[in-house]
Symmetry: none
Subunit: 214 residues, 4 copies
DNA sequence: TATTAAGCGAGACGGTACGTCTAGTCTTGCC
DNA sequence: GGCAAGACTAGACGTACCGTCTCGCTTAATA
C-alpha cells in the first residue's frame, strides 16, 4: 500500500517550506496558475525540485498549503497572542448585535471585499477551479477552508432562531447557503459585478422572502 | 493587414469538425480534462494537429464548441423540425401553471438531475473550472450557455410579478440567483448532496423568506 | 518487436543533423565527454532535445556519427571530385615503394601524429572508451572506423608477401596487429610517450624479430 | 592551513570499507559500471553515502581500490603466509626454463585466460575505459596494476639477453610491448577472438620477425 | 569514569541531467 | 487551399544521482 517510503518530516527544512509557499503564491499571482510550473516555483524559491516532489503530490497541493499557511499567518497577526482563538480561517465569528440582517450584511460585505481583493483573487480562483475538477483536492479545500467559515454562520443563525429572529423550522445550513451561494456564484462565474449593494439585497431577499407579504 | 491570414471557413471539412467534437468529448469523459491533450484529440479524431490549431485557439475552446454542439444536437432531437426554437441550451422555457413555487421546483429538480448526470459531469466541470480561471473563456461560457438559460427565469419571474405572485419591487435577476446559486454551489464545491428535496427547500426558503411571518 | 514506430527519415532536417554534429564535437573537445550532455548539445545546436532522442539512442551514438561525418568530410576534401575513392576513413592506401619497412614507418609515423593531434584526442578517446564498455557501440566503431583502415595494411602486407619481402607463412592480419597494437597501447594507456622513433622501432622489431639472427 | 580537514584514518571502519568493496564489485558485475551509482553502492553496503565520499574522490577510485583489494586477497590466498611476496597483482614472476618462447607463451596464455574470465571482465573493462578518459585515474591504474606486471617481463627479457636468447640491442621495454599490446588490443577492441593460439603466434612472430630469414 | 570528538548510518538538501510528453509551428505531399 | 501526417523548437514533467550538509548514535581516546 505504501510503494514509496515516506520522508522523515522531523528533518524537514522550514526555510525551504516557507520559501516554496512564498514563491508559489507570488508566481500564481504574477503569471496565473496555468503558467506557474513546479520548476518555476523551485527556481524562485532557490530550492531543488525534489524538495517539492518529496513533500507535495501536485502543484495544486503546494498552492493549497501555501494558501492555508497564508490564512493561518493572517489569523495569527489578527489575534495577537492568546486571544480567543477563532475556528475559521480569516473569519473570527459573526457579530451578534441583535439585528440579524445588519450583522449578516456586515459580514457579507466583508466577504465581498475579500473576494474583490486582487491579491487573493488569482490563487483563490486557481484553487477553487482545481478543486472543482479534482474531487480529492476539492474535499480538502472544503474541509480546511470553507467548512470552518460556514460553521460560523450556523452558529449565528442558531442564535437568531433562539432569539426568534429566524424561523424555527429553517435549517441553518440551508439558510446559510441561500446567503453565501449568490455571492460565490457571481464571483466565480463573473456574471455581474459583486458589490456591497448586492450583498445587502441578498440578505433582504433571503430573510424577507420573495413573495408579497399580506 | 491581418498578421495571420484567416482560414477560409467555406472550405472547412465538416467531417473533421464533427470527429474532433466526438473525440474531445469522449477523451474528456474517459480521462478527464487535464489528461486530455490536443495531440490525443487529433489522433483519436484521425485528424492532423494543425486542423485543430487552425480553427480553435485552445483546448478549452474545442471542448466548449463540442459541448455547444452536443447541446444543439440534443435540442434538435427534442424539438424535431420547425418547432418554436428555444433560446437556451437544453431548457425550453419554464412552465407557467400559475403556481410559481411548483413551476420553479419542477425546473430546479430537472436541473438537479442534469447536474447529477454522470455523462455530462466531467466536461461541464472541466469547462466551468476553465472559465473560472480564464476570464475570456468564462465570458463565452456565460454568454453562450448560462445567460440564455437564466433569461428564461427572468421571463417566468416577470410573469409572476405581473400576476402578483412575486413582490413587485424584487429584481428578477437577483431573485433568480437566489434560486440557482445554491444548487450551483453544492454541485461545484461538492459540499453536500444535491437532491430534489434540496431544490424544493431552496424554492420554499427563497420565496417565503427566512424570517417568521407575523 | 518494434515498440516505437520509427520516424520518417525522408523528412529529416539536414540542418539540425549537421548542427548537432558540430555541437557534439565542439562540446566534447571543450569539456570532455563526461561533462558533455545531450541537453548541452541540443542547446548549442539550437535544437529541441527530442530531435536528438528521435534519431539517436545515446550520447555515444551521436558522437560516433559526428565522428564518422567528420572523417567523411575530411575524406571528401582530401580527394576532391571523382578521384579514386579510398576505402578507409582518413587513410588513403599505404604507399608501396618496394621498401616495406620504410612504407610502414611512414604510415605509422602519420598515425602517431594523428593520435597526438590534440583536436582529435578527446573525441577519439571518448569514443574508444565507450566502445570498450558498450559492446554494441564498440562493434560499430570497429566496423566503421577501424576495420577499413586495417584492411589497407592487409593489402600492403599481401603485396609484400608476393614480392618476397614478408614471410609467406605469416598471417597478414596478425602481422598488422603486431605493428598497430603497440602504438594503440601506448596511446590508450599513456604508459610512455608515443613518438616517431617508437614507431620506427616497432617496425624494425616486428619485421626483424627479437631473437639474434645467426 | 588545509581547507578540508583530512579524516582520521586510524578510526576508519574496516567493516564499512570491505562492505563497500564488495558492493562495488558486485554491482559493477551485475549492472555494469555506468549503471552502478555511489548511492547504490552505499545502499548495498549498508553504509552512509558520506562514508564513501569521505574516503574516495570518485566512483572510479572506489572501484580501483576494490579491484586492488581483490587482487591482493587473491595473492594472499595463492601465496599463503610469508612466501616471497610478488610485486604484481596476480602474476608471480615469469618462469625461466631457458626456453624463452615457451616461457612467454605460458605466461601469455595465462593472461589470455585471465582476460577471458567473465568475472573479471566487467570491472577491468570499466576501469580501463575510465582510465583512458581520466588521465589521473589512468596513471594510477598503470602505476599500481600494470607497471608491476610489465616489470616482470622486463626482468625475464633481460635474463634472456644475458643468456643470448634475445638480441642484445633490443629494448626490453619495447620488446614487451610487442608481446603484450596485441593481446590487449584484441581484448579491448574486441576485433577478433583472443585465444591461446593467438598468443603463441604473437610470440613466434615477435621473436622470429616477419621478414624471411635468409 | 565521565567527557568529548570523530566516524558512522541515514537521509534531506540544492542542483543537474535524464528521457518523455505536449504545446504550438512548420513542411510535405495528397486531394 | 484544406487536409493528414509528422518533424521541428521549446520547455515542463517527474525521476535519479550528484556531492554537501545536518542529525543522532556509537565508539574510541582523553580528562
Amino acid at each position: 500500500m505504501a510503494p514509496h517510503k515516506a520522508p522523515d518530516a522531523s528533518r524537514r527544512s522550514d526555510r525551504s517550506r516557507r520559501a516554496i509557499y512564498d514563491a508559489a503564491l507570488a508566481l500564481v499571482g504574477e503569471n496565473g496558475y496555468r503558467r506557474t510550473t513546479i520548476e518555476g516555483i523551485a527556481a524562485r524559491a532557490g530550492v531543488g525540485k525534489q524538495t517539492i516532489y518529496r513533500w507535495w503530490p501536485s502543484k495544486a497541493a503546494v498552492l493549497m498549503e501555501a494558501f492555508l499557511d497564508l490564512a493561518a499567518r493572517a489569523a495569527e497577526q489578527a489575534v495577537p497572542e492568546g486571544g480567543a482563538v477563532p475556528q475559521g480561517g480569516g473569519e473570527y465569528g459573526i457579530p451578534d448585535t441583535g439585528d440579524l440582517a445588519a450583522d449578516l450584511k456586515s459580514v457579507l460585505r466583508a466577504t465581498v471585499d475579500e473576494l474583490n481583493d486582487p491579491l487573493m483573487e488569482a490563487p483563490t480562483r486557481a484553487l477553487t477551479a482545481e478543486g472543482i475538477v479534482d474531487a480529492k483536492l476539492g474535499a480538502e479545500f472544503i474541509e480546511k477552508l470553507l467548512d470552518p467559515q460556514l460553521a460560523l454562520y450556523v452558529t449565528r443563525l442558531r442564535a437568531a432562531q433562539e432569539a426568534g429572529h429566524l424561523r424555527a423550522d429553517a435549517d441553518p445550513r440551508i439558510a446559510l447557503e441561500l446567503l453565501i451561494a449568490p455571492l460565490t456564484h457571481r464571483w466565480l462565474l463573473r456574471t455581474l459585478p459583486l458589490t456591497h449593494a448586492y450583498a445587502d439585497t441578498i440578505v433582504d431577499y433571503a430573510l424577507g422572502g420573495l413573495t408579497p407579504r399580506p
